[in-house]
């Protein structure tokens, strides 16, 4: 064994992020200026993005896969596109956090280190080609998030959030691990490529262990990406966690779960997908419908966004169920769009609040259109995009996913999907109603700190940009998944 067989360049983005996390952790000890840590994190994120881009451009065709660490992980188009999603999420969250942490008096340096570690875990999940790596990455990600959820130590709700997240997350990890064990028992390997070979060798024969193992794996992932009925933890955790953390994990953790699930189902177990496709379809319908219906009843914006993020997991799942190239490309595009619009929406939630006054109720948004027109306009863009109104990013995400579902013959699923987006329009519109059509209750003008304003502006830019010029990003997404189906 030698160093070159590890292919360190291929894993460079992940390494850069992890090293940055450690550097930030140590730098915190020797500096009093916490904002320095944030900018250090941003630097790391940008360098990691450049590294991803460099790997992407390093080969002539995009049909490549650079295995590393003896096929424990891989750098291919799929993982690199997901790196983009995770890095965007992380960068926007860091920008949104800087002044929020000061305001809430929880400005501890570990925050950025944990956030970066979680990002590293997410990126590893996107590139994992071994069930052990999947599990390892998931734990790096989850443990960092458990701590982040409880980061506001003085706040009981934050503590509750962390504990709930930890207990249910550990429970889910148990399912996942048991599933992995059963799959190992059935196939004799945890490596995805070896599993593919094994399944080719056995032909149509499917062991009971494999079947149950995959089922348990699905349950584990369902917990992680909050599919109904495994979603019960989500609203409390999202509501209790500091808002900047909620923004980060509602997008990042979900995207990471879908990343690993997508590779597992479409690359390793395409034959078994048939056995589970109806179960997944039921999960998707339940998730969309319950998420949206419950969100209708919310008056707390943060909680409403929590339920809406459950519903969005349902939409994205449709793309996986379609199990074709269009569907998976749609999933990737949707995740990128979702990163911009959802983190953006949470950033606005941060901006509207003040210290000790979270200002999370709908009525706190009354008259925002006249109190702070730019902020309200940004929120309106995010809400319309989440509702799937053209020509914004969210619309094209849904367009691709639903069209893939129709292509794969799941017309009913597509119909339920579009009907759900109509239902969801109602509660997204309600925020806009409050902002523009109600008289302000308080006259206070939310103060926008420059980094937060930058985060919101970038998110708006992304949401509109992906809507007006979806082609380059969709092409990118289509090229990225070629590996998944090429094998």
């Amino acid at each position: 064994m030698n160093i070159s067989s590890l292919n360190l360049t291929a894993i460079a983005p992940q390494i850069i992020i992890i090293i940055t996390a450690l550097v930030v952790l140590l730098a915190e000890l020797f500096t009093g200026r916490k904002s320095l840590l944030a900018y250090l994190s941003l630097l790391g994120i940008i360098v990691a993005a450049i590294a991803s881009w460099y790997i992407w451009n390093g080969t002539e065709q995009r049909l490549f896969a650079v295995p590393m660490f003896q096929t424990m992980a891989v750098a291919d188009g799929y993982s690199l596109f997901l790196n983009l999603v995770f890095l965007v999420t992380a960068a926007l969250s860091v920008l949104a956090s800087i002044n929020y942490l000061v305001r809430e008096r929880i400005n501890h340096g570990e925050y950025y280190a944990l956030l970066l570690l979680a990002t590293g875990g997410m990126m590893l999940m996107g590139s994992a080609t071994d069930l052990m790596t999947v599990f390892l990455a998931l734990e790096i990600l989850s443990i960092s998030l458990y701590v982040l959820a409880g980061f506001n130590r003085a706040d009981l709700k934050s503590g509750e959030s962390a504990l709930k997240y930890f207990l249910l997350g550990a429970f889910a990890s148990g399912f996942l691990l048991y599933g992995i064990a059963l799959i190992y028992g059935a196939t004799g390997t945890t490596n995805l490529a070896a599993i593919v070979d094994f399944l080719k060798g056995t032909g149509p024969m499917r062991g009971t262990y494999l079947f149950i193992g995959l089922g348990l794996l699905l349950v584990g992932f369902s917990f992680k990406i909050a599919l109904v009925p495994f979603h019960m933890w989500t609203p409390d955790v999202y509501e209790g966690a500091p808002t900047s953390v909620t923004a980060f994990m509602s997008v990042g953790a979900k995207a990471a779960g879908f990343a690993a699930l997508g590779r597992l189902l479409l690359y390793a177990f395409p034959t078994l997908l048939g056995d589970w496709v109806w179960a997944l379809a039921v999960l998707s319908v339940l998730t969309m419908t319950l998420g949206n219906l419950t969100a209708l009843a919310q008056t707390n914006v943060k909680r409403m966004l929590a339920y809406s993020s459950i519903a969005h997991a349902g939409y994205i799942l449709i793309g996986l169920i379609a199990a074709n190239e269009a569907g998976m490309a749609g999933v990737l595009f949707y995740l990128l769009a979702y990163a911009f619009m959802n983190v953006g929406a949470f950033a606005v939630v941060i901006a509207v609040g003040r210290e000790g006054e979270p200002n999370l109720e709908l009525s706190d948004y009354a008259g925002l259109g006249s109190r702070q027109p730019l902020l309200a306009a940004a929120m309106a863009v995010f809400m319309f995009s989440l509702a799937g109104v053209p020509p914004l990013a969210g619309f094209f995400g849904k367009l691709y996913i639903f069209s893939a579902a129709v292509q794969a013959g799941f017309v009913a699923l597509a119909i339920i999907g579009v009907l759900n987006s109509v239902v969801s329009a109602f509660f997204y519109l309600r925020v806009i109603v409050y902002m523009y059509m109600q008289k302000p209750i308080v006259e206070a003008r939310p103060v926008l700190a420059p980094p937060l304003a930058l985060a919101i502006a970038l998110a708006v830019l992304g949401t509109i940009g992906l809507g007006l010029l979806p082609t380059p990003f969709l092409t990118l997404a289509q090229q990225s998944i070629a590996m998944l189906f090429g094998a």
Binding site: L399, Y400, S403, I415, A425, L429
Partner: protein, 503 residues
């Protein structure tokens, strides 16, 4: 073909958008108003070459622009107009400056946002009528919702929020299924021909299997029927109209409702001809119910604006009836009646708005004898009312008469029933006119009213000119649409006769 060799349609679509972006940076209210007016008037003049360079002898799409947009999916930025959409584009570019000018003093709050939304409205509406790609069409179609939602919700009346949300959700629900139907159509075509495309002209060549036609037609028709609105999907309309600000009502009645009827002609008819023929009885009966029901409800209204709103339901019933007559007279009458309704109902909303600005009420009982106080206003109201009830020599007559001729050829019972609608229309409109304008001027508040200002006359005169122009020289309009309508119908008939008449 593009006879100009120049992307005129894109220019018409995106000039208002650019105007809206510039408006963002303007500060003074007066400057903003003038700027919006200049942009929209300029856009109207920019759209006039569409009429003059339009070639009547061909059914081909004209002023075509085509750029690939999402290549891998087969979505293209494909614009073009024919005799069917020409007048709807012109109607849009004509009504927007009128609407802008009519809100000069009516809108006092958030003028900047208001004008930006008006300009965005124009962009998306022209886009709907010019788009020849299903996805592009859908994008513009949905994009019209956002500005209208804000126009109603921010500058509307008492129950504006309820009306705005209802408007948004109804229309969104209607078009949601259309999106799925578009996908189904796309993949059917891709499987059959191997060329994935959302291009309308390509998809028209593909004959959809009969069994699928029914479902696809219904999915498309639901979206269009809600927009028109066809009975029983009309309940959002009175709310939206009554609560919307004057200019909002003008645009809603003048252009937005036409998008539904236009959708039937442009998409349902050529794409699903057999299903279209199959559903003629159902749709015609719904249209007739709409005509009679709308008229009766209009008569019982105490608010002038909701009276006009319900009269819209009746008038649009005529349009749908004409379209589903499936012959040249019915179809071209339907198209012309769309323009007529845009003009006369638009003008009615303008007049009601002017009255409301003066008296801050729209209850018919609050008025009476206004003729003595407001003679100029009275003259305009008289002309517009007569146009709306179809007096020969004015535009409404031409449209309704042609539709009835077409319907009579198709089914005389439908024509007879629809004709009662004309009588009812005359009845409620004239009653309204009598109660508002005639009789003694016995309300003291009415004695203070000022007659129309110069600006208001400038708003109304162009509309009235067109009311007369269409009434006296209908062939200026029919001539341009003739070959498009004939070709559409002959293609449809050929397809229907090839397959079985009933799916």
């Amino acid at each position: 073909m593009n006879q100009l060799g120049f992307p005129l349609l894109s220019l018409i679509i995106f000039l208002p958008l650019c105007g809206a972006v510039v408006t963002l940076f303007l500060r003074k209210e007066a400057v903003i108003k003038w700027w919006a007016l200049i942009v929209t008037v300029a856009n109207f003049f920019l759209s006039l070459p569409l009429y003059f360079y339009f070639q009547s002898g061909t059914a081909e799409m004209q002023f075509v622009e085509r750029i690939p947009w999402m290549l891998s999916l087969g979505v293209s930025y494909h614009l073009g107009i024919d005799g069917i959409s020409l007048f709807l584009v012109l109607l849009t570019t004509f009504l927007i400056p009128v609407a802008v000018l009519s809100s000069w003093t009516y809108i006092t709050e958030k003028v900047k946002e208001y004008m930006i939304l008006m300009l965005l409205m124009e962009t998306s509406m022209v886009g709907v009528f010019a788009a020849l790609d299903l996805i592009l069409f859908y994008v513009f179609w949905e994009a019209t919702l956002i500005p209208m939602y804000f126009l109603i919700g921010i500058w509307g009346g008492e129950r504006r929020i309820y009306a705005a949300v209802k408007f948004f959700l109804y229309t969104l629900a209607g078009s949601a299924l259309m999106l799925v139907a578009i996908f189904v159509l796309y993949f059917m075509n891709a499987q059959a021909t191997g060329r994935p495309t959302f291009d309308l002209l390509e998809l028209q060549k593909f004959s959809v299997p009969l069994a699928a036609q029914t479902w696809l037609f219904l999915a498309f028709a639901l979206g269009f029927a809600i927009k028109v609105p066809l009975f029983p999907f009309h309940t959002w309309l009175p709310d939206a109209h009554v609560e919307a600000p004057t200019a909002g009502s003008v645009i809603l009645a003048g252009v937005l409702l036409k998008m539904g009827a236009y959708g039937f002609i442009r998409f349902c008819l050529p794409l699903f001809p057999a299903a279209f023929a199959y559903f003629v009885p159902l749709m015609s009966i719904l249209a007739i119910i709409g005509i009679i029901y709308g008229s009766l409800v209009a008569f019982s209204q105490s608010d002038v604006k909701s009276l006009v709103a319900y009269s819209s339901v009746a008038h649009l019933g005529f349009v749908v009836l004409g379209i589903f007559a499936l012959n040249a007279q019915g179809l071209s009458g339907g198209i012309l009646q769309m323009v007529n309704h845009g003009l006369s109902t638009g003008a009615l909303f303008l007049l009601v708005g002017m009255l409301y600005e003066r008296r801050h009420t729209r209850l018919i009982d609050e008025f009476g004898g206004l003729w003595k106080q407001l003679p100029l206003f009275g003259i305009f109201l008289l002309i517009v009312t007569l146009s709306s009830i179809g007096l020969p020599g004015l535009n409404g007559f031409i449209g309704e008469f042609t539709i009835l001729v077409g319907t009579f050829q198709a089914n005389w019972i439908y024509a007879a029933l629809a004709a009662t609608g004309i009588v009812l229309g005359a009845w409620y409109m004239l009653t309204m006119l009598r109660r508002v304008m005639h009789g003694p001027l016995d309300k003291p508040a009415n004695r203070q009213l000022q007659d129309l200002s110069a600006r208001e006359i400038v708003v109304l005169v162009p509309v009235v000119i067109f009311i007369f122009l269409i009434g006296l020289f209908p062939n200026l309009f029919f001539g341009k649409m003739e070959s498009s309508v004939d070709t559409l119908l002959s293609q449809t008939r050929a397809t229907i006769s090839m397959g079985e008449p009933n799916p």
